[in-house]
């Protein structure tokens, strides 16, 4: 087994389009790294460069200690799972799984044993004599996985392997793939546009956009400490509320003014780990508030009056274990141009911006009411509006 290292890798197409720009990334040996980003961000190109299906325009890719820029795909000792599985339609499941071994001229008995082992691992023993057309989507997915693991490669490459499955099967396969990867321990590079897949499966997540790597971190850190506005907006569902604000100091008490009529007081812990935020007093900032940090003030009474605002309830989605509440707030939303978050459609109403809040299921707010919302400013995020970078030490 081996890790994969990108050293200043750039992919430029003949028409001048740069799909990947100066990528430095270190996938550790045995690690499950998920690269996530909106469509067209360069993540699939990155994967295809490891596979050898795309040439590297500049920089170096290493698998283990070997620079593989000019190595043929078959000599890279990698296995890949494609979005549409790419099973050979004329071969049986067994032949599909064993094809690589057959090409490598392994003895017949060895091929049979290894195919059988892989099939057992993936619960495919009953399907070995069937053709791909006779299998369900989930089974095809597993055959594609089988084809990859039977080779015991140095690196697994998975290109949006779950995007063709229905929602229920996707959740199931997510767990199966994660489990399988931990079991075989092969370095895995997984590409997806689905941040939930990234968060649930990865050891570390690499967020990429416009061919530029935004941040690489374990899932929780990515969620808690996004490096920039893009990562903040992209990771988390529903996505973070990003609002324009100004830090103001009124007689020693600092607050975030969102508009002439709305401001939220700072909390003590807000400056923990970011003393530099104090230097922004009097300046514009972008405030990021996770929906989980907007609470029903009627239930969360510990928050002082200064950290509350009142707004009309635009919509309530009761999910059983919680309530997704859309509240009007007199503020201006910040939408990074490049954020294409499917579930983050921008809602506005006459009363101002609609922010998303996750209330406890005990909350009794109703559509059309004006409710009081408490803001947990301890967990608020702050970004510099000119650079988009997180403000912290």
């Amino acid at each position: 087994m081996a890790g994969v290292v990108f050293e200043d890798v750039t992919k430029e197409y003949p028409n001048g389009f740069k799909a990947v720009k100066n990528l430095d990334l270190d996938i550790r040996d045995g690690e499950f790294l998920v690269m996530v980003g909106p469509s067209g961000c360069g993540k699939s190109t990155t994967l295809r460069m490891i596979a050898g299906l795309e040439e590297v325009s500049a920089g170096k890719i290493k698998i283990g200690d070997r620079v593989v820029n000019d190595v043929h795909p078959k000599d890279r000792d990698i296995a890949m799972v494609f979005q549409n599985y790419a099973l050979y339609p004329h071969m049986t499941v067994a032949d599909n799984i064993g094809f690589a071994l057959k090409l490598a001229k392994r003895p017949k008995t060895e091929i049979r044993d290894r195919v059988l082992d892989a099939a057992k691992l993936l619960d495919l023993t009953e399907q070995l004599d069937k053709k791909p057309a006779q299998l369900s989507g989930g089974q095809r997915q597993r055959v594609a996985m089988g084809r990859a693991i039977v080779r015991t490669p140095q690196v697994f490459l998975l290109d949006e392997p779950l995007s063709n499955l229905d929602a229920k099967l996707r959740v199931q396969m997510r767990a199966e793939i994660t489990h399988l990867q931990r079991k075989v321990g092969v370095t895995t590079f997984y590409v997806t546009h689905d941040q939930i897949e990234a968060m649930t499966m990865a050891d570390r997540v690499a967020v990429i956009n416009f061919g530029v790597l935004q941040q690489v971190a374990p899932p929780q850190e990515l969620f808690d400490r996004p490096d920039n506005i893009f990562v903040a907006a992209f990771i988390g569902s529903p996505s973070m509320n990003l609002l324009e604000g100004t830090l103001i100091d009124e007689d020693g008490s600092i607050s975030v003014r969102l508009s002439p009529s709305a401001s939220i007081g700072a909390s003590e812990k807000m400056f923990a780990g970011r003393d530099v935020l104090k230097s922004y007093v009097g300046k514009q900032v972008v405030v990021g508030l996770r929906p989980k940090d907007l609470k029903d003030a009627a239930l969360s009474t510990q928050f002082p009056q200064s950290q509350r605002f009142r707004g009309e309830i635009f919509n309530v989605e009761a999910l059983g274990y919680e309530r997704m509440v859309y509240v009007a707030l007199d503020a201006t939303r910040v939408v990074p141009d490049e954020v294409l978050v499917a579930d983050g459609d921008v809602l506005t109403s006459d009363e101002g911006t609609i922010v998303t809040a996750r209330f406890d299921s005990k909350s009794s707010v109703k559509i059309g009411q004006t409710a009081e919302v408490a803001v947990d400013m301890d967990n608020a995020h702050f970004f510099d509006p000119s650079t988009g970078l997180a403000i912290r030490d």
Partner: protein
Amino acid sequence: MSPATRLWLVRAAWIGSTIATGAAVVWSAGFITDPEANRGLVVIAAIALGVVGVALLFKGMDFLVDRLPARYQEAVRPWVFVGPAVFILGIYLVYPAINTTVLSFKGRNSQEWVGLQNFTDIFTDHDSLISLRNSLLWVIIVPLFAVGIGLAFATLADKLGRRAEATAKSIIFMPMAISMVGAAIVWLFVYSFRPPGFGSQIGVLNGLWTGLGNNPVAWLLQEPWNNLYLMIILIWLETGFAMVILSAAIKAVPEEIIEAARIDGANDWQIFWRVTFPTIASTVVVVATTIVITVWKVFDIVFVMTGGNFGTSVVAQRMVTEFFTFRNAGHGAAFAVILFVAVIPVMAINVRQFRIQEERR
């Protein structure tokens, strides 16, 4: 205007226009059979008559179907449209096929029954056996090379740039647009031969041959190789067809499968034979069988180039010769039956493969 008056007017218009159209049809039918009439006008009248006639036929039959009891209407209606085609095919295809089969058991003037004598004649006559042998060679060699070369072109063209691929394919496909007689005449000039002293060699092949310092060769007299020279013409014609269809099939093979094979460790040769070819195999069969059928029926090329002389006759050409040169309807019909029987299994394979292909889509 009262509703009753309007109804009468509509009826009158209907009847009037029907009579007028009928009269026009009758008149034009007379006009186009008049040998004195202007040829150009006859063509126009014939086209108009055909189009209007067919329209009237369908309209009239549809009208009649509407008058049927409701429960029969929908069962009968499809036959209004399918019926004429079936009827015409019956007259021009099924009836002649049956009649030919009957004739093959009769004598040269179709008078008396001779049993299997015609077939016995064919399978014992030296010249007839040569034409059977030649046809078998044609059926093996032409499809093999046309499909083989077509497949090679299709595969290699796929690796060219878009422009170059389109250009190369158009050039290879172009012979398809030439009729067999036209092609044969083109190739007459390729193989053209003049004995020394009868002018310079205008044939391409002899031009090259003598240019290399050799004596001119009468290519079409070189038994048995002259058969091969004739086959080359049909291969030249059919390769384009094979290439276009196979190229489409190759392009339909998903790119991901090829990439998967590359990652699995296959080289270009292995990718072609183990992944691409099996995926397009059913198309290859359809193309090959279609060409086989064309080859069985080949007549024009042989007729134009050698007239079936010098050991180059084939079944279809032999059939025409028996019918029209030797005036032996029995032998001619027997050749036709042999041809018919030879094509049936190929046709069956073709239809079956086509169905399999359709199911995969």
